[in-house]
């Protein structure tokens, strides 16, 4: 293929032709584009720069708007760049800035082009290359072009200078060493009178300060001057952002800036500036009451404004202020609650957050009630948003605000019945968590679980499966609190459980097992007690009875047993008759039989366990019930022993386990966890091959049955399941209506019940009004919490619940971030990362005025154990300060040399700071000002 001919370049499609063709779409967009790309590939090889550049322009159009790869043209873009013509350059720079990235191979070749254009006399060419550099700069480019940028920082042409300033940010980020060269000039530009240059510099400092505020504290006087003098809102907003970062570090500074900020807030008409002032006050000057009051006043203006933007921002500001000044929210609560029914989902979510901030121990029940009702009527997304926030608020800090756990557990039950509920997993966790932590709530928990389990409608909602598994687990684990275990059993084995995923079916089976054992034991106990009274010398059953009674006592259910005795004589004690046990065992066999052929190992195994257990006990039990009492004793003894054993296995209480518990176990001698197991690979490799087959089910048959076996099995399965459903239908017929109590009968349908009809808007508003009233009531401090009963004990594990470790981790992580910046991004020490830059700068500046910094640093440190690394750093800083007054270069150098020998790469960073200290930074001129200014 040769290059394009003269004809080609004469009749080249222009960009306009391309776009027109695309829009006409005579041959379809894709076809047209691929044709155009073909042309471009040819044209771009042309020696004629105009043809080439047009091709490049077309390509960049296709690349940026139709996302076609243009990496093949990177070198051609460079060729066009070398053109002397501005129009070509412009196209080339544009193409480069959209297509180059850090790993573009020809990136190395661009350095000289950029250098040439950066020192061009044409300011537009300079601007183009700066523009491009700001986009594509990498470490090499930043390093190589630092001198040019440095020159441009003091260019006479403001147009160029402001761009150079903006580009500096990118250069610093990529090549922190350049700070040493450019920082001084950058600071000088802070005093520039041109608003655009000033805006650019402040913008750069704003970005820098957001990453590492402490380093820029010494520049506070300059920023303060800008804050007071500047009339430019763009600049003021950026300066306010800088102060929002600096003020928390230095209390005196905070006091100083409050006045001017409040002035701006009062005076200005620009909403953006007002909002920035408000945000600065609520994030960083939160201690200053009068300023906060003023800010909250402004927030209220926002809230009542028609503009949804201002509403949204107002709500956001309130949620920032809420943790420290709850009054601000309760003053505006009427509005907040009204916003719950706003048309804008963003506003709704913000106001929901605020409503949740209002929740306290006293009003949690009322607010949750209304919110749950509200969730019933909302769209699915917001409904789950509401449920999620109720769940997270209530479980905060180990259910801190929950006093009445019975209520909370029933609320959980209620929430799971909301049609849109997708929070199954969260509710699952909480049900189990509460069950383990709060002993007193278990009866209620079992009751709620029962209600969930027997509702066949819930089984159809896949979001709730996790939740049902929790309910099943709870009712199995705490079955002794159940009023009617037989009913539970039926619920666990109902046919619709086939809708559950295998892992959850397995939990169901296991729970059924527990319930079964419990039922049998109760049955035996009843019989045993009568028997033992008749035959006092019959030891085994007497023992069994007493043991099981003891175990009951151990579980501290005296009152529950009482309860079942008193108001439930028909339940546990009386209901388990011979007949019911027979029915129960039949039910188990009927329901689990088909599962023996399940493809899921877990299900298969557990079903087999249960059925084995049934086989083991059934004969004995049934025979004994039919035969004479004294005959039965001997036979029944075996069964009761088995049951007793099983019960013993299940009755051991499970407690919550601290997540760090494993860490506490000291390693036994001779156990090597860290040893490389690579050697085992060979051995394992040998074993692996045969064993890979054995993972498939029914491998023993496979050899015989061959391929057809799996088909056969499936058929068999389906046959089985058909069989089972027909059997179950029979069973159902025999037991009258579906075997669930009549209380829920209206809910029972094979289909999932439809969502409650979304009520009319008026209703929602009514509801909002309700909530307004409610919160009004519940927020009045007069109302004393009248806790009917004391808050039950909530088991806490010190490590897990307070999570000191993770806290410390995140804190030290944050401190680390502050001190070392983005070390992780550029890990090699030779590239001297950004992190070194700020710290070194700080070292440079901090020398003279130390107290405040040390203070603020100490504050940060106090929260957690200072990492040894930081301590080193810190002490080193002091060391530096002592030494610096001498500031003899030679000495410094020697010092550095020594330090280098002290190995760590971190020291390497210090080493740079040492050199930096020599730089005539003139901070000695600025820094003495600071104490005066601050005090």
């Amino acid at each position: 293929m040769s290059g394009p001919s003269l004809m080609d370049s004469l009749f080249q499609r222009t960009l306009e032709d391309l776009i027109k063709g695309l829009r006409q779409q005579l041959i379809g967009e894709q076809a047209f584009i691929s044709k155009a790309l073909e042309e471009i590939r040819k044209e771009i090889k042309s020696t004629d720069l105009s043809t080439k550049s047009t091709a490049l322009l077309k390509l960049s159009y296709l690349s940026s708007l139709h996302f076609h790869d243009m990496s093949f043209a990177t070198f051609h873009a460079l060729e066009v760049l070398s053109s002397p013509r501005f129009s070509h350059k412009r196209i080339a720079y544009h193409a480069i800035s959209i297509s180059f990235h850090d790993s573009t191979p020809v990136l190395l070749l661009i350095t000289n082009h950029l250098r040439k254009d950066l020192s061009s006399t044409n300011e537009f060419e300079v601007s183009l290359s700066l523009q491009c550099l700001s986009r594509i700069a990498n470490v090499d480019l930043a390093r190589d072009l630092t001198p040019e940028i440095f020159t441009l920082l003091s260019s006479n042409k403001l147009y160029v200078r402001k761009k150079a300033v903006a580009v500096v940010l990118r250069v610093f980020e990529k090549y922190p060493e350049s700070v040493r060269v450019c920082f001084k000039r950058l600071v000088e530009n802070l005093e520039n009178s041109d608003p655009q240059v000033l805006s650019a510099v402040v913008g750069v400092f704003c970005e820098l300060a957001s990453k590492d505020p402490i380093s820029y504290l010494p520049l506070a006087p300059e920023f303060y001057k800008i804050l007071v003098d500047s009339k430019n809102n763009w600049v003021l907003i950026k300066v306010l952002k800088i102060f929002a970062k600096l003020a928390p570090l230095e209390p005196r500074l905070a006091k100083r800036v409050v006045e001017p900020i409040c002035d701006h807030m009062r005076r200005t008409g620009a909403k953006s500036l007002v909002f920035e002032c408000v945000r600065t006050v609520v994030t960083s000057l939160i201690e200053n009451d009068s300023a906060v009051r003023l800010a909250v006043g402004k927030v209220r203006e926002f809230l009542v404004d028609e503009d949804p933007n201002l509403k949204y921002l107002g709500l956001q500001a309130l949620s920032i202020v809420a943790p420290k000044h709850l009054w601000a929210v309760s003053e505006n609560k009427e509005f907040v609650i009204k916003s719950l029914s706003d048309a804008d989902p963003n506003i709704k979510i913000e106001s929901l957050r605020l409503v949740m901030a209002l929740v306290s121990e006293h009003n949690v029940a009322e607010i949750s009630r209304v919110l749950v009702n509200y969730a019933l009527k909302s769209d699915p997304d917001f409904c789950n948003e509401i449920l999620g926030s109720i769940l997270s608020t209530c479980s905060r800090n180990v259910y801190e605000i929950i006093v009445d756990f019975d209520w909370y557990v029933s609320l959980l039950g209620e929430m799971s019945r909301i049609p849109h509920c997708q929070k199954g997993e969260e509710i699952e966790n909480q049900l189990i968590d509460i069950g383990m932590r709060v002993k007193d709530v278990r009866p209620e928990l079992v009751c709620v679980s029962r209600d969930l389990l027997i509702d066949p409608a819930l089984l159809g909602n896949s979001f709730l499966h996790r939740l049902l598994s929790a309910a099943a687990w709870v009712s199995g684990e705490y079955v002794e609190y159940s009023r009617n275990p037989l009913e539970l059993m039926e619920a666990l084995l109902q046919p619709r459980t086939s809708l559950l995923p295998p892992s959850i079916t397995a939990i169901y089976i296991q729970s059924a097992f527990k319930v079964l054992v419990f039922c049998l034991l109760t049955y035996l106990m009843q019989r045993g007690s009568t028997a033992s009274s008749m035959f006092p010398d019959n030891l085994p059953s007497a023992v069994s009875a007493s043991v099981s009674y003891e175990s009951f006592d151990d579980l501290s259910v005296e009152n529950v047993v009482d309860a079942t005795d008193t108001h439930g004589p028909t339940c546990t004690s009386a209901s388990i008759t011979n007949e019911s046990i027979v029915n129960l065992l039949n039910l188990v066999e009927l329901a689990l039989g088909p599962l023996l052929g399940s493809h899921d190992v877990e299900i298969q195994e557990r079903a087999r366990n249960v059925l084995g257990f049934v086989d083991l006990t059934k004969l004995d039990l049934l025979n004994s019930s039919v035969q004479e009492e004294n005959d039965s004793e001997r036979k029944g003894a075996e069964a009761s022993k088995t049951i007793e054993l099983m019960h013993g296995a299940f009755s051991k209480e499970l407690g919550p386990v601290s997540s760090s518990a494993q860490g506490k176990i000291c390693l036994p001698d001779g156990l090597m966890l860290k040893e490389n197991l690579g050697d085992l690979e060979m051995i394992c490799g040998d074993i692996d091959q045969p064993s890979s087959n054995s993972f498939s089910f029914g491998s023993p048959y496979e050899e015989k049955g061959g391929v057809s076996f799996s088909n056969l099995q499936i058929k068999e399965n389906s046959r089985q399941s058909n069989e089972s459903t027909s059997l179950l239908a029979e069973h159902r017929k025999r037991h009258g209506l579906y075997y669930l109590p009549s209380g829920k009968s209206e809910m029972i349908s094979n289909d999932y019940p439809p969502a409650n009809d979304p009520m009319l808007l008026g209703n929602i508003n009514d509801n909002a009004d309700d909530l307004v009233k409610l919160t009004e009531e519940s927020l009045t401090p007069k109302r004393k919490p009248n806790h009917a009963k004391p808050r039950p004990v909530v088991v806490k594990l010190d490590e897990v619940d307070e999570k000191p470790e993770s806290k410390e981790d995140s804190l030290s992580g944050a401190v680390h971030d502050v001190l070392f910046g983005s070390e992780d991004i550029v890990p090699t020490s030779s590239q001297s990362n950004l992190s070194d830059m700020p710290s070194s700068k700080r070292k440079g500046k901090e020398k003279q005025h130390t107290d405040s910094h040390v203070e603020s640093k100490e504050n940060l440190v106090d929260h957690g154990n200072p990492s040894s690394r930081r301590r080193k750093h810190h002490s080193h800083g002091k060391e530096r300060r002592h030494r610096s007054p001498r500031k003899k270069n030679a000495e410094e150098r020697k010092d550095n040399g020594q330090k280098l020998k002290e190995k760590s790469s971190h020291r390497h960073g210090m080493h740079k700071s040492g050199q930096r200290a020599e730089e005539p930074f003139n901070f000695s001129v600025q820094t003495p000002v600071i104490p005066d200014f601050l005090l």
Partner: protein, 161 residues
């Protein structure tokens, strides 16, 4: 800082996109798909901010075009709205009551103008007049170059080279 500027039509067609933070090609298409899904479905009288992946996206609709800018969590949303408006006004002045077609056919010019307003994700020029002057000056540079290049003799010289 501004992470990217995105102009999409009501039908979800991208009219201009400028990235100030590094995104891979894959991420880019994903970002655009996600955002257009979020923004185009929002009703007319809602607020102009969307929280998205820990960032905020400020958008505003002008006729059939949505102007979107993605910013950090603590940036000032109202300021960004003003920048968007600033850009639109400059476009309007440059094209003379700008419409979507202007941007479609002059996509590169829309980029050049944007480049005069924003640099490295920050506002660099808040004066409409200055931007207009700068663009005009650069355009005239291009024009003179074109005139030279467009002459027949030049083409022949190029071809016979």
């Amino acid at each position: 800082m501004i992470h990217f500027v995105l102009l999409i039509s009501r039908q979800g067609k991208v009219r201009l996109i400028k990235w100030y933070s590094p995104y891979s090609q894959k991420e880019r298409t994903k970002v655009i798909r996600e955002l257009s899904g979020v923004i185009l479905t929002r009703g007319p009288k809602l607020c102009n901010f969307v929280e998205w992946r820990g960032f905020k996206v400020v958008y505003k609709r002008y006729a059939s075009l949505y102007f979107c800018m993605c910013i950090d969590q603590d940036d000032n949303e109202l300021e960004i709205l003003e920048i968007i408006h600033h850009y639109v006004e400059i476009l309007d002045r440059y094209f003379g009551s700008v419409c979507e077609l202007d941007l479609i056919f002059n996509f590169h010019k829309a980029y050049y103008i944007l480049d005069e307003i924003l640099i490295a994700g920050e506002l660099q020029e808040s004066s409409k007049k200055t931007v207009a002057l700068l663009i005009a000056a650069q355009d005239s540079l291009v024009e003179t170059a074109k005139e030279q290049a467009g002459s027949i003799s030049n083409i022949i010289a190029q071809a016979t080279k």
